[in-house]
Every structure is written in C-alpha cells, then in structure tokens.
Symmetry: C2
Subunit: 210 residues, 2 copies
DNA sequence: TAGATTGTTAATCGATTAACAATC
DNA sequence: TAGATTGTTAATCGATTAACAATC
C-alpha cells in the first residue's frame, strides 16, 4: 500500500470517512452513496478518494464496513501508537488533555507542559504538568513525535522551536501565528478567530445579495 | 468593493494577512515579500490574493500597512459587529468563552448555553450559562448570527438544528460529525483528532522513505 | 533616469465532477 | 440474466506559480 501518491485533499478527508464508518459499524456493507452522505461529501468524490488507496469495494454491492475501516485506518497509521505532548495548559490545553477521542485514533497524550509556576505540578487529566524549561527532556523521555501548541501567540514560535529541536516532527498549533519550521516537519494550524471571520465573510456576502 | 468574486482559498487566507499586518503596525509600508514571509505564504500568492480585493499597493514601494489593514478588515466585515452564542460549556467552551481575541475581530460572545443543570446558572467569562431548552429565545434575544458548537458529537446535529431554526446563519463546530444544514447556512468545522491523523499520515510517509 | 515592486497574464498544477464501462 | 454499484476516464473547474510589463 504505497501511500505516496494520495493527494493531500484526499488525505484530509480520510479521517472523516473513518468517523462515518464507525457510525455504521455493525452494518455489513455500505454503498458510496450512504457513506458519502454520512461524511458530507458527494458519492463521486468518495469513490475517487478511495480509489487512491486501492480497490476495496465490490461493484454492484458496496464496501465492507469492517474491511474498509481497517484499510483507511492502516493508511492513516491508526495502529501505530503516537505520543503527544501538549504545551500550554490553559482552558484549551485542559480541553485537549481531557479529550477522550485521541486514544482510539492512535494518539497517547503522554505529557503536559506549561510555563506558569502556578500550573506546573498540578494534576490534569491524570498527568502532572511539567515546566516548559524541561521541554526537551519531556520529549526525549516520552518519545513524543507530535506536539500540540496551545500557548498565547507571542510564545508560539519559541515553543515550536523547542519542540522541533527536541525531535518532534508533527505540530498542531492553535496560536494565530505562522510558524517557521525546517523541512521535514509538518504543521497543521487551527485558528478559531480566522474561522469566525470566514463565516462573517460569507454572511456579509449573503446580505450583499449574492 | 464587490467581494462576490473573491476565491474561497483567498478568503481563507485573509485573516492571516490581517494578523501579519497587526504585527507590523507602526511600520509605514511593507512589501509583498515581507508580508508574505510573516504570513507564511509566497509573495506571488499574496499579491495575487490582494489583487482580488483591488489595487491597494504602490508599485516600486509596497503596501501602506494601515490602509491595507483597513481594506482587508472591510472585506472581512470587521467593522460589522457580530453576535456569537456558544453551545456546550465544557473545557473547550470555557476556552472559547474566555478567548480575548474575538472582540477585535468583530465578534461579541453574547451568550453561553449548556445542557447540564450543574453548569447552567454558573458564571463563565462574565456570562451566566443558560439552559439549552432556551436556545431559541437566547438567539432571538441576543440577535446572534453565529453559533459555536462545542458539545459532544452525538448532540451536535440537534444543537445545529436548534441554532439554524433560531436564525443563525454561520456555524463553527468542533464535533467530529458532518452537519446537515439548509442552503444559506455556512459551516466551518474544526476537528482536532482529524488534524492529528493528518500529521500522522505525513509522519508515516516520511518513515516510508518518500 | 534607474531601481524597485506591484498587478496581471499565462502556464502549470491539482482537485472536483460527471458519465459510463467494468463487474459483482 | 438483470440490476446495481464500483472504479476509472475525461472534462471541467479552481488554485498556484512564475514571469514580466506597468509604474511608482
């Protein structure tokens, strides 16, 4: 299963297909139409996306739910456990640390880090928060390959540098800042204020009469 | 300023440009190269994007920071205050309610709603949490046009329906579920577990030797 | 004028959609 | 076999990139 040639847009939709498949677990077979509706895409797009992974359906029948779930899971590497360290334990960091949905996706939150002495040492979601000075050691000890940045924007690049320097190769940031990383490090950014502004744009357009 | 023909990909980058401009406030003029680096895009893409809005730069000189900030702000409707209601006041809802970055982007969080009787009535970020039964009244009273869905996945569609039924036209959801909405309602979805899986995919690909 | 930088054009690239032959 | 649905092809659409003429 060479995943090298799977388009980025397709990769971004695979987790959604996995979600949709989980929702119909127990059903033996689904058609592209059913699964596409559940995932919020068109049947044509679903089939096209799946065709990049291989031929996992049966013409005239549909897709075997359990089999397809395994295949997509394999492409996304669900069976490979990945260790995550969360930096910044404010409300957002709390929310992420407490989120139960990571484990079944192959992610283990192994450490929490914060700069605030008041927060360091407290217990959050079963983990003791460690000081940001110890970031490199924490990454080394836990073998974390993914870092989540939930600190205020002005500190995001420093935390990013620290994580990358310690060997993390995947970053998820919630700070509204473009992060500079070396080649070989992947960054995904979630910016809530930007999302709201995109909504606002579409809303304004609507009232413009488009 | 007809914004009708601004491509979706461009719209999605405009908030990032606004951020980058804020960072260089005080500087009189920036070139596309400087601003592009700050925003994490190529100079060519920045100029292309801005060209959809109009001709706000001066050849041989660059862009006037204050002027460009006003123009992009206008396209995104920053000056139009929008009222937001947040549904689901767990850690994530707390984080969103407490986030200070919304106000300067034109968003006023006017109400918080939760289904848990233990949470209803408590004060969060200066607002008293209201019961989800009163969702329609809350939307009507506050005039909210944007709804943020931070409830567990199984309740997301119900909350979505309630918000849309009450007149909200923009939705930001954090639940890993495809939401069904009527035409005229815009949905933006943030799915943290999916983001991590996309990181994992790229990481796995790296170890495959691509 | 000479140098710099935008705005725009054209070429390339990637993603989506539609249609249908293959096949269960 | 007849009906259904996939996998794939081809056409369309949209986004990105590169280059350069316009112009400050």
């Amino acid at each position: 299963m060479s995943t090298a040639q799977v388009p980025g847009a397709t990769v971004a939709r695979l987790p959604g297909y996995l979600h949709a498949l989980e929702a119909v677990r127990g059903t033996g077979v689904v058609t592209s139409e059913e699964l596409a509706r559940a995932a919020g895409v068109s049947p044509a797009q679903l089939r096209k996306d799946l065709s990049f992974l291989g031929s996992y359906g049966r013409r005239g029948v549909g897709y075997d739910v359990a089999h397809l779930e395994r295949q997509i899971g394999a492409v996304l590497g669900v069976q490979t456990r990945r260790t995550v360290v969360i930096v910044g334990i404010g409300y957002l960091g709390h929310a992420l640390a407490s989120y139960g949905g990571f484990a079944e996706r192959g992610f283990d939150v192994a450490a929490l880090v914060d700069a605030d002495p008041q927060v360091v040492g407290t217990r959050v979601a079963g983990l003791v928060v460690e000081p940001v000075d110890a970031l490199a050691q924490v990454v080394a000890r836990t073998g974390a390959t993914v870092g989540v940045i939930a600190v205020p924007a002005p500190y995001a690049q420093d935390v990013c540098d620290g994580l990358v320097g310690a060997g993390v190769t995947g970053l998820l940031t919630f700070a509204p800042r473009a992060l500079r990383v070396p080649d070989g490090v992947t960054v995904r950014a979630v910016d809530v204020a930007s999302e709201l502004q995109i909504l606002a744009f579409h809303d304004a357009r609507r009232h413009e009469g488009v």
